[in-house]
């Protein structure tokens, strides 16, 4: 490593990096506990992915931002092709077609698409005049950017990731300055479209929504997970049962205890105090994103960081609301903590993008 990149490394936002590392290590610890003190079951893999992901993160952080900018569309199109590839020849797992088997690695292009979408939208708005973003003809491309992959992901079928992608895209559009009336119109049309969307939902998806609306309706089936998750969190009380002492979460009533429901065991063992601490750590990470935004000058950089921060928030919020029974169970992981390679990797890549554009905040990007 030459002197230049060493200096670049020193100038990175280390507050953000340490916060992320802390979250990842909390994940390792909780996975160790949920595996009944078996490090090899999930924690080992999670640590390895954390290490590998952070190397990727640093690699992106040290990239020339102009290269990142130039390759945004290409990346988006490659990911789109991969999504179509999943549609055509993906490996079916747990009843859904989400994985693309590249031989050496099984990847979920739908999660990577989040990065691709943010970069593509950011690039698009970089080349639009701020006063033109709300023009109808300038909404066509962003709409295509969002809807095409969302539909492909929805068809896998993966309702959760599809909704997350749309929410991410809408957040970027909002930050880009799209007139709030469009969001109002969009919201009303979605409300009007609900009966039609309902028709296209698969039985398990309908079931999840119905059970969310009334968990007691199916206390032994789908609603059982929500009830059991609430019992786990609630029984933790103020100070929790202690690390490795959780009784509820470790029992097999939650099939996703190490992935989507990981917060349940954390809150059971660490209690309200631990829950607040974790929540504050996420608040810190998100706050750091917006702190960075204030120092950025071009739309691409701003939308990249704002988009990544927004996506992170959406995931954290939806996951926590889900396990606490505030939202239907849609299958969204808790960033950096849930077990799952693609989720961890994509969020670390997102941080890499943030670090990259921050480091080169003074670099001029073409505006047309």
């Amino acid at each position: 490593m030459n002197f230049h990149s060493l200096k670049a490394l020193r100038n990175l936002n280390w507050a953000l990096i340490y916060s992320i590392l802390a979250l990842g290590l909390i994940g390792v610890a909780v996975l160790y506990s949920v595996a009944d003190s078996d490090f090899a079951l999930w924690s080992l893999q999670h640590s390895a992915r954390l290490g590998f992901g952070m190397i990727l993160m640093f690699t992106i952080a040290l990239m020339d931002v102009r290269l990142l900018y130039a390759s945004a569309y290409v990346l988006f199109i490659v990911l789109l092709i991969m999504l179509i590839g999943v549609e055509v020849g993906g490996t079916r797992s747990m009843g859904a077609q989400r994985w693309l088997d590249l031989g050496f690695l099984r990847v979920q292009p739908s999660e990577f698409m989040r990065i691709g979408l943010i970069l593509a939208l950011a690039r698009y708005y970089q080349t639009r005049h701020p006063l033109d973003v709300s023009k109808l003809q300038n909404l066509i491309m962003p709409a295509i950017f969002i809807i095409t992959p969302a539909v492909l992901i929805f068809r896998q079928p993966d309702l959760g990731t599809s909704i997350m992608l749309v929410l991410t895209g809408l957040g970027v559009l909002y930050l880009a300055g799209v007139n709030w009336r469009y969001f109002a119109v969009g919201g009303v049309s979605i409300a009007a479209a609900i009966p039609f969307i309902w028709q296209t939902l698969l039985p398990y998806q309908k079931q999840r929504v119905l059970v969310f609306l009334n968990p007691e309706q199916d206390p032994l089936g789908s609603g059982y997970h929500i009830i059991q998750s609430k019992i786990g969190i609630g029984s933790g009380g103020l100070s929790g049962k202690g690390f490795g002492e959780g009784t509820q979460s470790r029992l097999n009533f939650l099939p996703e205890k190490h992935t989507d429901f990981i917060f349940t065991i954390f809150a059971e063992e660490m209690g309200f105090i631990g829950g607040i601490a974790l929540l504050l750590l996420f608040v810190l990470v998100i706050f750091l994103h917006f702190n960075i935004i204030a120092r950025l000058r071009n739309p691409f950089s701003r939308l990249c960081v704002g988009g990544m921060g927004w996506a992170l928030f959406v995931y954290v919020f939806v996951n926590l609301a889900m396990v606490m029974g505030l939202l239907p169970v849609v299958g969204v992981p808790l960033p950096f903590i849930s077990y799952g390679g693609t989720s961890l990797l994509t969020f670390l890549l997102g941080i890499g993008v943030v670090l990259c554009v921050e480091r080169q905040s003074m670099t001029e990007l073409p505006r047309s």
Partner: protein
């Protein structure tokens, strides 16, 4: 940089708004967390205490077994059982003492239980006792709150309404061993098929296990059932057996040792298969004490052995049909050719005796079979040669298992030059061909093979594979012998039973114009010396011999004589003469079969996955 560009202001305002919104939503989450963990903490803590999930596999109901007329042969019943889970009791000895007081267990039994508990892992349930009365079971439930670690449950029990009559066919249920699990996979059922149909069709009968998810409290008591999956019940099996005939046959055999097999000559369906003496599978399924078990294992009449498929006997004179068919095919005799019998047959310095000391006189093939003249068959066996006899015997399926769907079947022995070289490392002696002519010597066959040979002769020479539950693919439709030759044999067998000179004349039967045809066999199990023959008393009578030295009595036959439908083989170990012992038994069984009202229903096999 122009800090006051309109888009800057707008962007800063929007991002700030977004941050505020996010913090607001996080505030909502915090409020929710507070609600669950502080406000409602007590409620959830109580729920958690009562809330442990236990996953228990449950056996699917085992398939029931019925006979061809849908009469139940094997059924399921409950078995009131009590288990003990060591990890749920703080003081195991005290817990067992309390339990013993409720169930009145003997101190010896208690000791045995403690020993078994010490061997098992703490979380594993140990069976304390089963076959409890309702009384004890009720008392147990009443005292349950004071009995730590005790888990009463309703276990499974197999019952056999016809017990002894079906023992060898159905087998019995017993405790699972490592070998059983390795072979058939594990099952939550208490028992596994140990023999016969229960073992052969173990997988089909057991079905797919289900599972019950239970919520249990801190002491392991069930709070409620979360989910229940009963699994897939096992396949029911319908057997080709007609239990009426089976039961009659068992009674007819009484205390004798031996076997009776009745087959449908066209399909190979086994209507009856009795091996005697028998045992009570109900007793075995309930658990049997070691002394009784040892007695059964070492009994000289071998009650546990299914003699019909695993008992090996020289076929004796019942083999003469095979020799005759081989000779006819080799064209070494003509059907009207006469051979003189003076009671002995001289062959290369040796004298072979006919059972009729005075000799039969002039014999044709038909009369030789009718009167079972040994001399005639000595002669044609030598003319035919062992190779052709061996070939014919093998064509009828001798020397290999028939392939019936029961485990443990023996194949028997068809001797020949290669066989002799492989097993004795010597050449074949032509003297051995002579005694092979009357089915003695090295020849060994099972009663099932004898019945199946009889069936093939009766059905016109089509090869059959006997079966008891599922029809198996036949080896081929090739005819095993020329129909014309078989007609001749059948004519002779008719005479053997229905003509005054026939060996089984005293066992002739007539039911609505239907008569029996057949062949007797008396198999020597000891060597009769020349001195014994020439002694004052002559050959010692069976009645004067030790049971184990007496002749085996055999009979094979079929009914009706003109349109054969059922074939039978009767083998009575050390019973004496075939004509006086085996033939009357065959007559009575066939008489019963032809008189059955209603007649046995046609068997349509239910689909069973191959075990």
């Amino acid at each position: 940089m122009h800090l006051t560009e309109p888009d800057d202001i707008d962007f800063n305002r929007r991002s700030l708004l977004m941050l505020v919104g996010q913090m607001g939503l996080f505030g909502g989450l915090l409020w929710r967390l507070q609600y669950l963990q502080i406000e409602q903490a007590k409620i959830y803590k109580n729920l958690a205490e009562a809330n442990r999930v236990d996953f228990r596999p449950v056996a699917a109901p085992r398939g029931i077994i019925s006979d061809r007329n849908n009469i139940l042969l094997a059924d399921n019943d409950y078995n009131l059982t009590v288990d003990f889970i060591p990890e749920q009791a703080d003081d195991i000895e005290a817990a067992i003492a309390d339990l013993s007081a409720v169930l009145n267990l003997s101190p010896a039994h208690q000791k045995d239980i403690l020993k078994r508990i010490a061997r098992a892992p703490a979380f594993r349930a140990v069976e304390i006792d089963d076959m409890l009365s309702w009384d004890s079971f009720a008392r147990l439930h009443l005292n349950l709150p004071y009995l730590a670690g005790v888990a009463p449950r309703v276990g499974d029990l197999r019952i056999y309404p016809y017990g002894k009559a079906t023992a060898h066919i159905l087998g019995y249920m017993g405790a699972k061993t490592k070998q059983d699990i390795a072979r058939y996979g594990n099952t939550p059922a208490d028992h596994i098929g140990k023999d016969g149909i229960e073992r052969q069709y173990e997988k089909a009968l057991r079905g797919r296990a289900g599972a019950r998810q239970l919520e249990v409290n801190a002491r392991g008591r069930t709070v409620r059932q979360i989910s229940n999956n009963d699994g897939t019940p096992g396949n029911d099996l319908r057997l080709t057996i007609d239990i009426r005939l089976q039961e009659f046959t068992r009674k007819r055999l009484g205390s004798r040792a031996g076997s009776v097999v009745v087959l449908d000559v066209h399909s190979g369906e086994v209507l009856t298969m009795v091996s005697a003496p028998t045992y009570d599978p109900n007793q075995l399924s309930h658990g049997i004490d070691n002394a009784s078990w040892q007695k059964m294992v070492t009994h000289e009449k071998k009650p546990l052995l299914n003699k019909s498929i695993a008992g090996l006997y020289a076929p004796g004179s019942t083999f003469k049909m095979i020799v005759a068919l081989a000779a006819l095919e080799a064209e070494v005799i003509k059907t009207d050719e006469k051979i003189h019998c003076d009671g002995t047959f001289h062959f290369s310095d040796e004298i072979f005796h006919c059972w009729q000391k005075e000799g039969h006189g002039s014999m044709t093939l038909e009369t030789a079979l009718e009167q079972s003249c040994d001399t005639y068959f000595y002669d044609i066996a030598v003319r035919t040669g062992i190779d052709k006899i061996e070939e014919m015997a093998k064509r009828f399926g001798l020397g290999r298992p028939t392939g019936i769907d029961l485990m443990g079947e023996q194949g028997g022995v068809v001797p020949g030059r290669d066989w002799k070289r492989a097993n004795y490392e010597t050449q074949w002696w032509s003297g051995e061909t002579v005694i092979a002519g009357i089915g003695q010597g090295f020849l060994l066959s099972t009663p099932l093979q004898l019945a199946s040979i009889m069936a093939m002769i009766a059905n016109g020479g089509r090869y059959i594979t006997p079966f008891i539950a599922a029809p198996l693919p036949v080896y081929g439709t090739d005819e095993v012998a020329t129909p014309e030759h078989l007609r001749l044999i059948r004519r002779a067998l008719y005479r053997a039973v229905n003509r005054p000179k026939g060996t089984a004349y005293h066992s002739s039967l007539l039911v609505r114009g239907q008569r029996m045809a057949g062949k007797t066999g008396t198999v020597q199990v000891r060597r009769i010396t020349q001195e014994e023959r020439e002694s004052a008393g002559g050959v010692i009578a069976n009645a004067d011999l030790d049971w184990r030295l007496r002749d085996h009595a055999l009979f094979v036959g079929y009914v009706p004589h003109d349109k054969p439908r059922y074939a039978i083989s009767v083998v009575i170990e050390h019973g004496g003469a075939g004509a006086s012992v085996a033939a009357p038994i065959a007559r009575d069984i066939m008489h019963h079969l032809l008189s059955l009202k209603p007649a046995p229903q046609p068997f349509v096999a239910t689909n069973v996955e191959d075990a």
